[in-house]
């Protein structure tokens, strides 16, 4: 689960030119032909840097994303719901594993990525800094956050970096189960007792702003964005993905007689675009910078996992272990 809204502008194409104009031309020609870039291929340093940042943030989002949903495993209503939620949370952690490996092929060690997660240097998706207050939050996360993540990940799976695309193909396959089970919980509550409906409506109201934040602020169509899109690092602008999401999922929510806390939200039939009130982007940046309602808890739990698990990993470690960069 991940929204790709955090790629800061900063790709200096001139730097890539300076490295080697000839290799850059070959690299770009390969991408234009629709071929994938593989780990040991030549690539511009900025391409490598942006991909590491993006895949690493995605991996962190998966591993931290397991926490809010994990909250409800112990109290899931019924055995099948509990099995499904455990399977989903396990998948998310598995996705983190796949993604850390994909990022590792670009030369950043897994331990360094985990250090940067714990010390707050690298980010993860904002949505996971919010609490899952009730079982209905699990429904909203499973249905809508995963749906938003799928929009993002399906786009990225057509990107140019081979290992990331391969990881995403598998991730998307598993995410489609997450979406289905989330939708099922969502529909059960929406068509249940008045109290269940109210619980769901409240959860929806709480989550709407984080969901609108999910794809990130409107991108300025800068030279940087354009370069990242030509190199197929970024596959669609934040706005395009947000529109895709609204177009598919808002009608499904309204269909069930639920409302969304934005009086301006509607589709402009003449342009086909959704109109909405801009969410508060100050909140977005505040949460990214570590001041979300659960930010401290999430990182504290992650730290404790590393700290209290260290002796187990050390006890199992072998003196003759040899490191090699993962192949794919």
């Amino acid at each position: 689960m991940y929204g790709g809204g955090y790629i800061p502008a900063g790709v200096e194409e001139t730097k890539a030119q300076a490295e080697s104009p000839e290799l850059l031309a070959q690299f770009e020609a390969r991408i234009t032909r629709g071929e994938k870039i593989e780990p040991r291929d030549w690539m511009p340093a900025v391409y490598r840097k942006q991909l590491i940042r993006m895949i690493e943030q995605h991996a962190h989002s998966e591993i931290i994303g397991a926490l809010p949903e994990g909250t409800w495993i112990t109290r899931a209503p019924g055995f099948r719901r509990k099995l499904a939620l455990m399977a989903k949370v396990q998948d998310e952690v598995g996705h983190a594993q796949l993604l850390y490996s994909a990022a590792e092929t670009l030369g950043k060690k897994r331990e360094d990525m985990l250090n940067d997660l714990i010390n707050g240097k690298s980010k993860y998706s904002n949505v996971f800094n919010y609490p899952a207050e009730t079982w209905a939050d699990v429904a909203v996360i499973g249905f809508l956050i995963d749906a938003a993540a799928i929009v993002n990940q399906v786009a990225n799976s057509k990107g140019s970096y081979g290992p990331y695309c391969r990881a995403l193909e598998r991730i998307c396959y598993e995410e489609s189960f997450h979406l289905k089970q989330g939708h099922s919980v969502f529909v059960w509550l929406a068509t249940g007792t008045p109290m269940q409906r109210e619980m769901l409506q409240n959860a929806l109201n709480r989550w709407w702003e984080p969901i609108m934040h999910f794809f990130g602020p409107s991108d300025t169509m800068s030279q940087h964005t354009e370069t990242l899109m030509r190199w197929k690092v970024k596959m669609a602008t934040n706005d395009v993905m947000r529109q895709q999401f609204l177009n598919i999922y808002v009608p499904k929510i309204w269909d069930l007689g639920l409302s969304l806390p934005d009086p301006e939200l509607r589709k402009d039939e003449s342009t086909g675009q959704w109109l909405f009130t801009e969410p508060n982007w100050d909140t977005f940046f505040k949460v990214i910078n570590g001041d979300g309602p659960c930010s401290r808890e999430r990182l504290a739990v992650r730290k404790v996992a590393e700290e209290r698990g260290a002796w187990v990993r050390a006890a199992l470690r072998r003196a003759d272990a040899r490191y090699a960069t993962p192949l794919a």
Binding site: Q97, V301, L327
Partner: protein
């Protein structure tokens, strides 16, 4: 000596998750875990998966593990938890020799070596012509 942090930071985090509460995590800002060094999370292993007997094993991804045996346990969990699985292989990444991608040029003409290909041998025209000549 402890710095003068507000008292609430020394209280365990109150989470909605009962499991987190059982961890008794304190949120002291200066409390830094030991920094991980490369190798702490073990080497990587390449995993090959066979769906059904009779099919081939295919590369499916990697796991990190302290040994081959643990790599196999991780591989079962990571690559065998859905769909069918008949068999798995794990190989230490450091033991794999990878061809340089730059060498793929060497194989560029291979698809055009028709003399290595059954489709490169067409004789029906000759046979038909021969037969046509034979019939009175």
């Amino acid at each position: 000596m402890l710095p003068l942090w507000p008292k609430y930071l020394f209280m365990p985090i109150l989470s909605l998750d009962p499991r987190v509460n059982r961890l008794q995590v304190e949120q002291v800002p200066e409390h830094q875990p030991p920094v991980l060094v490369p190798g702490d999370h073990w080497p990587s292993y390449q995993v090959f998966h066979q769906r059904r007997r009779g099919e081939k094993h295919s590369s499916v991804g990697i796991v990190h593990a302290p040994s081959l045996e643990m790599a196999m346990a991780m591989a079962k969990e990571q690559f065998g938890r859905r769909g069918e699985t008949s068999n798995l292989w794990v190989v230490c990444t450091a033991d794999v020799l990878e061809m340089d991608y730059a060498d793929e040029e060497v194989f560029r003409t291979t698809p055009f070596k028709s003399y290595r290909d059954p489709a490169g041998y067409k004789v029906n025209e000759k046979i038909d012509a021969y037969k046509a000549k034979q019939t009175p």
